[in-house]
Symmetry: C2
Subunit: 296 residues, 2 copies
């Protein structure tokens, strides 16, 4: 079989409103106010797994923020980027789409005429390590508490200072940081959603007041768990419940599913505690189901 | 007396890292995550009133966000912009300073080496209308509730989606929108802080859980009110307290102090109510004191 020669491409490769390597206006409301949303997608073998979910979340979030989206334009820019890397030999990467309300004057008021900014980029992916899938990761409990905002909850919007401050609490000692809300309930981790297994029942935190409703979380709730005959309950989750769980795992669109082998609570306000989790059958079953979905 | 000829300058005029009309990288963390802070300052007759307060808030917020600031660089860029407009004939304008964590890779983690972005711009100012000072403005109660976050409260950071959504609730029928927190307490207005007068005592909401601690608010609490022998109490403020107040006023760095003549509560969840306020002696006294401070 004849193969096109691979072309060397340096990542990241970023396309702004259809123009490669273009820059952003300092008047862009994404820059001025974080006025927009984004998607972070896995790219593998020329396609984006779970694209229909990414697309739905992006459009739904834009609608909540009253940002008009020209989907054909978005797809044109995305396809143009995918075409550019199609013969590059790149197998695994991360696609990031940023959508903002575009250039606007000074002031919070929505511009009378909105021309959104579509920024589509492909980034190298360095996160995928086999031992994290197999042996699990260690997670700590962050000191930062997420604010509760029904207006913003669930969206992957560009207002990410809380997650940045939480991520700044540690260096490389832990794979992820668990985020609680101002009431002390479990919400998510900094770049992941979280699930717990207790007595063969699957649980994940309710995200109607805080957190990002992740694509992999949705895939687990709506596809992977039902395929295994498991029902997932969306609950208000206390940290004590998590500490008493049989299995915990994290998930996101890029790395998939990571078992958690240890939860470390070293917050200033609590006594140090370490909860260990043994290998989880349900976590492994979901990982297998995901690999099947991804054609791995 | 000889005057330099005035040069015509089109606003806005924006300087990014010392370069006029420069653009922002799509990898700038201000664009990607709203990872930064800003200041909006009044410019008049060649200077920025209350600059020492703006400077302090900017540096203090940057410190809270762990963004290293090279103050001499910031002042160099700001002074360069001020020099450019010094002979333009521009009397009143708005200076906006945006400081971000600069260019970084994908991911929330703080870059190992941070080179902040300093974006300094001057914008036209169209807000200053004599009748709003004299006769007061009408304010409505917004439906949107501000989230409570001790990590972010008080800062004028770049995560402004809540304020944008609140401002999108009305067009031009009202001068401002009052913002309550998730508990229903009064915090601020979309671009203003708020004060109430009851029995000759001055009150303003506590901002330790939500809101932007404005420069004019600080000037009123620390300078203008004490100069008049008035002590300001920082309190948890209920909406009913506001409705029963003798005077209410709004303030910010650009327009100064606006008396509120009517508060309209037309939220979906409440019966329509309109509270009218008569001319306020303390509000007027503070306006006079501010005019004196500004050399008007």
């Amino acid at each position: 079989m004849y193969r096109l020669p691979t072309m060397s491409i340096n990542l990241p490769l970023i396309n702004v409103n259809g123009v490669l390597d273009a820059a952003i206006s300092p008047l862009d409301r994404g820059f001025a106010y974080g006025d927009g949303v984004f998607e972070t997608c896995r790219y593998q073998h020329g396609s984006i797994p779970l694209w229909s979910y990414h697309r739905e979340r992006l459009l739904h979030s834009a609608e909540r923020l009253q940002i008009p989206v020209d989907e054909s334009l978005l797809m044109q820019y995305l396809n143009s980027l995918l075409a550019q890397i199609a013969h590059s030999g790149i197998q695994g990467a991360v696609i990031k789409i940023i959508l903002t309300r575009g250039v606007g004057g000074r002031g919070y008021r929505l511009p009378d005429f909105v021309k959104p900014t579509y920024c589509v980029g492909i980034f190298p992916c360095s996160q995928l390590q086999t031992d994290q899938y197999r042996d699990g990761v260690t997670v700590r409990v962050c000191n930062l508490r997420l604010a509760q905002s029904s207006a913003l909850a669930g969206m992957k919007h560009l207002n990410r200072l809380e997650h940045i401050l939480a991520r700044a609490e540690w260096q490389d000692e832990f794979a992820e940081g668990l985020l609680l809300d101002e009431q002390g309930r479990v919400v998510e981790a900094t770049v992941s959603n979280l699930f717990a297994v207790k007595n063969n029942q699957l649980y994940t935190p309710d995200l109607s007041a805080a957190g990002v409703a992740g694509i992999m979380r949705r895939a687990i709730i709506e596809k992977l768990a039902p395929e295994l005959g498991i029902v997932c309950r969306i609950v208000d989750m206390e940290l004590d419940f998590l500490k008493a769980a049989d299995e915990i795992f994290l998930c996101n669109s890029v790395y998939g599913i990571w078992p958690v082998n240890q939860l470390v609570d070293d917050r200033q306000t609590t006594a140090l505690s370490q909860t260990n989790y043994s290998e989880g059958q349900i976590t492994h079953a979901l990982q297998k189901q995901l690999a099947y979905l991804l054609g791995e």
